[in-house]
Symmetry: C2
Subunit: 170 residues, 2 copies
């Protein structure tokens, strides 16, 4: 029904939605006169990732899914972002990389064996990797990014999360 | 690359993962000697859904995606769950309904027009509905369910979220 490429396009669009959330976060911080960097260390539990790492992880889930299924080398990101402009650049760079991938790159994605770096000797098929790991992991970090901002008073709604729908007249 | 049916199977499996999270939530409540029903009203922001409605919404996102793309009537759920056993039953009933759907039911899923009840006169193709709305919405409520439990001290980890991976030897 749909290709790995189409899934990567969808993840790329949703990753880009974070930019609008950060616009609202900045407006909120300005209205309340606190430093926007405070958001980056906010977390929902002491042993969960803070916002900055949730965003880095969402970027990486999309980046690695795109690169591994297209058979391309993923760009390296040292995870050193420490400000809102820096994390915005991380998102923009990831979106730009994902946009270099073309539908033809994914011709063999379904059956491509994806090695798991943290499980030496083990791999998943491209199909299983995408559906069982990459997509759930991407949405986990995307939704946690949203939840941390909402928990800290940013006025987000489902429209900000879903953003654009392709509608047809009945 | 993959069918709408395969996506519904994946959502069904992940919906079932919540049962394990509730097991851990119950153990946590027992150790701390508080009523498990406290979890159901927990939320991350005053104007976000509490846990019980996050779980109901995850169930509904999966139920409606399965029903609409298979052209079946979805079972009705009045959203009256008020205890952990009741919300467990909601999950079990939703999983049982989704398991009645067969791959052949989804033969026309990609191009089927899905009307949007809250937007009279508008619809989405099955493909767009699944990728732009149903899947992101499902994972939104699934991850918020997880986040609310974590925020309230339940000892969950990524393993509980992802659960089973289909591995191959390299």
């Amino acid at each position: 029904m749909h290709s790995a490429y189409a899934t990567i396009v969808q993840l790329t669009q949703m990753l880009g939605n974070i930019v609008g959330w950060l616009d609202k976060a900045e407006a909120h911080a300005k209205a309340k006169t606190f430093d926007t960097a405070v958001f980056l260390s906010a977390r929902l539990a002491p042993d969960q990732y803070p916002l900055v790492r949730q965003i880095q992880s969402a970027c990486d889930a999309a980046k690695f899914a795109g690169a591994r299924l297209a058979g391309k080398e993923p760009p390296k990101n040292p995870d050193t972002e420490a400000s809102l402009p820096e994390i915005r650049k991380r998102i923009a760079d990831t979106v730009a990389f994902l946009n270099t991938l073309e539908e033809t790159d994914f011709a063999n994605a379904k059956d491509r064996l994806v090695p798991l770096p943290w499980m030496p000797g083990k791999a998943m098929t491209g199909y299983d990797y995408l559906t069982q790991l990459a997509v759930p992991n991407f949405f986990f970090h995307l939704a946690h990014t949203y939840a941390i901002l909402r928990h800290n008073g940013v006025n987000l709604g489902k429209q900000d999360y879903i953003n654009t729908l392709t509608l047809k007249d009945l």
